[in-house]
């Protein structure tokens, strides 16, 4: 099996290194020196696993060899360029998107007619350098068919990922899981970006009337109403996901907060924007999710 991982952030790096233990992996990076370092040093994993994988890497998409499975693991801002770089090529490949939010598959679909697989991942890592990623949370990646991709193809990818040492679960319908994570991310990432709080116990506190947990709960409830109107039965209750995550001990640094702290564009469009647009599509009032979406957008506007 030949794999191509597009985007070598922490999630892309974790996939690339693990898959390289059971397949040939080529990584498409944004920067030339990142590709050179991977080719020369390999990709080191520490934390829950400890090994160094041999991968090939390229910064120019024209240098990519043929592959059977493409994994797009860029941030929202890199998605359009990633899809563009694969356009018109690799007709035998299946492409899997592992992005936050909703709508990544549509962006890729506009660039080609590959069979697509939707995925959401709950694993997490921290990149210490271009060639070193720490594997932190070994929670699973969930994947499911997009449009008429055969489920057997999804199960093959599930087996490949599991053989590579990561957790994965194929689902006939990913939307329940995707929406659970969407509501969770829209709420937790949005609130974190606006308050500057890491995902800590404040997000679950509901004692005093000004405690943040009330707002988090109300945002989740709005999200559930949107899901219901969209005909999606959630896989997990996002409020319980929130409470559980705040009890892990070390507070997660949500990527949207990380982006705001470094005054970078965030993934707010693909996450909060997508949820608010779904609310509009199904005629559901979502004043609080809309407020969080507008406030994060405005925060981005304040950079300049």
């Amino acid at each position: 099996v030949k794999c191509c991982v597009v985007g070598a952030g922490s999630i892309g790096s974790l996939f690339a290194a693990h898959l390289a233990t059971v397949s040939d992996v080529c990584v498409l990076t944004r920067r030339q020196e990142h590709a050179r370092a991977l080719n020369e040093e390999g990709l080191r994993v520490s934390g829950r696993h400890d090994f160094t994988a041999r991968v090939t890497a390229a910064a120019d998409p024209r240098d990519l060899p043929d592959f059977d499975l493409g994994i797009i693991a860029t941030k929202a801002g890199g998605l359009e360029g990633a899809a563009e770089s694969l356009s018109g090529r690799f007709p035998a490949a299946t492409i899997m998107t592992v992005l936050n939010g909703l709508g990544a598959e549509d962006v890729v679909r506009r660039r080609g007619d590959w069979p697509l697989v939707s995925a959401v991942t709950f694993m997490s890592g921290t990149k210490h350098s271009d060639t070193h990623v720490e594997y932190i949370l070994d929670t699973p990646t969930w994947l499911g068919p997009y449009e008429d991709t055969p489920f057997e193809r999804v199960q093959e990818i599930e087996r490949l990922i599991v053989d590579a040492g990561l957790k994965a679960e194929a689902m006939a319908d990913l939307r329940p899981a995707q929406w659970s994570k969407l509501i969770f991310n829209a709420t937790v990432n949005g609130v974190a970006a606006l308050t500057g709080l890491r995902h800590d116990e404040h997000f679950a506190a509901e004692r005093e009337s000004s405690d943040l947990g009330h707002l988090v709960h109300d945002l989740v409830d709005e999200g559930k109403q949107i899901a219901e109107a969209a005909g999606v039965e959630l896989h997990d209750d996002p409020w319980e996901m929130n409470v559980l995550a705040t009890k892990r001990g070390s507070a997660h640094y949500p990527s949207m907060l990380e982006d705001v702290d470094s005054r970078r564009p965030t993934e707010v469009e693909l996450i909060n924007g997508a949820l608010v647009r779904e609310a509009e599509r199904y005629g559901v009032d979502a004043p609080l999710q809309t407020a969080v979406y507008r406030l994060v957008k405005a925060r981005e506007a304040s950079y300049s």
Binding site: G196, H202, S210, L212, H214, P287, A291, K297, A298, A301
Partner: protein, 304 residues
């Protein structure tokens, strides 16, 4: 007539320095910042900007030095009302105490320590440049009226309003001061925290149509809570918001709450959006957006 300004920050200094211009008024200012007190006693209290004057009030940081006063004007930040009035109450045993503070609930707190209370709201603004020196940014009106639960006599309210007006701080004595107060509270609660959460100036908040709609959503909730108490606003807060957004008024103004957040100082959010939520709860009016904004800004404070 003896008047003591309790809390001699920017707004308190505007009252103290102007009132000290009058020959028939003896002005005291009570403030905990010893450097500021020493500078006032040594060089006088200087205002520059909208008016350039030097007043010579007596200043002290020791409440025991205060003589018996006819009037108190409380001008602390709202979170310091309780400790400030508790410390100075003995000076007002036979006098009346007015508030010119931001937010809701200051009169109730003052009434725990004073017999005759004056509800008040003021629009002039400035900032402390250095000890003994305040920049006077904006002139504006002040309104005084009886605090319903522990009212000061109408004649006394008129006497204080007359003194302020003669001193160059135009002040109206009215039968019901809640209208102007709620207009200002709604204005502040609907705009200041939006600036604080996004980092945008007042003008930029208003020119983003989606964000401006969020501001209107907050205004509408505030108006509904005022209406439920039979409070008639003296003007529409929306007009004040649009007026302030004009380039020659306050387009580039960073809300004081944004300045607080940037300096990691506690904000007055509990007395603004928190006050609207509290009064809404007491009168059966839902205030979900104000509750959300309250929780977000409390979250910001907790992130420090």
């Amino acid at each position: 007539v003896r008047i003591c300004v309790v809390g001699c920050g920017a707004v308190g200094s505007l009252f103290a320095a102007n009132l000290a211009q009058l020959g028939d008024i003896e002005v005291w200012s009570y403030d905990l910042a010893q450097e500021h007190v020493d500078a006032i006693n040594r060089d006088g209290l200087r205002l520059s900007g909208a008016g350039d004057i030097v007043g010579r009030p007596h200043a002290t940081s020791d409440a025991k030095e205060l003589p018996a006063c006819d009037f108190g004007i409380v001008a602390t930040k709202a979170m310091h009302t309780s400790s400030a009035i508790a410390a100075t109450a003995a000076a007002f045993t036979d006098g009346c105490v007015a508030t010119v503070q931001n937010g809701l609930g200051n009169e109730e707190t003052i009434a725990e320590h004073a017999e005759r209370v004056i509800r008040g709201t003021t629009f002039p603004a400035g900032k402390l440049l250095e000890p003994g020196h305040v920049q006077w940014d904006v002139k504006g009106d002040t309104t005084f009226g009886p605090f319903e639960a522990r009212p000061a006599p109408v004649r006394e309210i008129e006497r204080l309003a007359d003194a302020c007006t003669r001193a160059g701080m135009p002040t109206n004595a009215v039968a019901d001061a809640r209208g102007p107060q709620w207009r200002k509270v709604i204005f502040n609660a609907s705009t200041n925290p939006i600036g604080a959460l996004t980092g945008l100036t007042h003008g930029r908040v208003c020119e983003d149509p989606a964000l401006r709609r969020l501001v209107s959503g907050l205004v509408d909730e505030g108006k509904a809570v005022a209406a439920a108490q039979d409070i008639e606003l003296d003007a529409d807060p929306e007009d004040l918001i649009d007026h302030a957004a004009r380039p020659e008024v306050a387009y580039d103004h960073k809300a004081s709450m944004l300045q607080d957040v940037e300096a990691h100082r506690a904000t007055e959010i509990d007395y603004l959006n928190g006050g609207i939520v509290r009064f809404g709860g007491e009168h059966g009016v839902g205030t979900p957006l104000n509750a959300a904004i309250w929780a977000l800004v409390k979250g910001v404070e907790r992130s420090w």
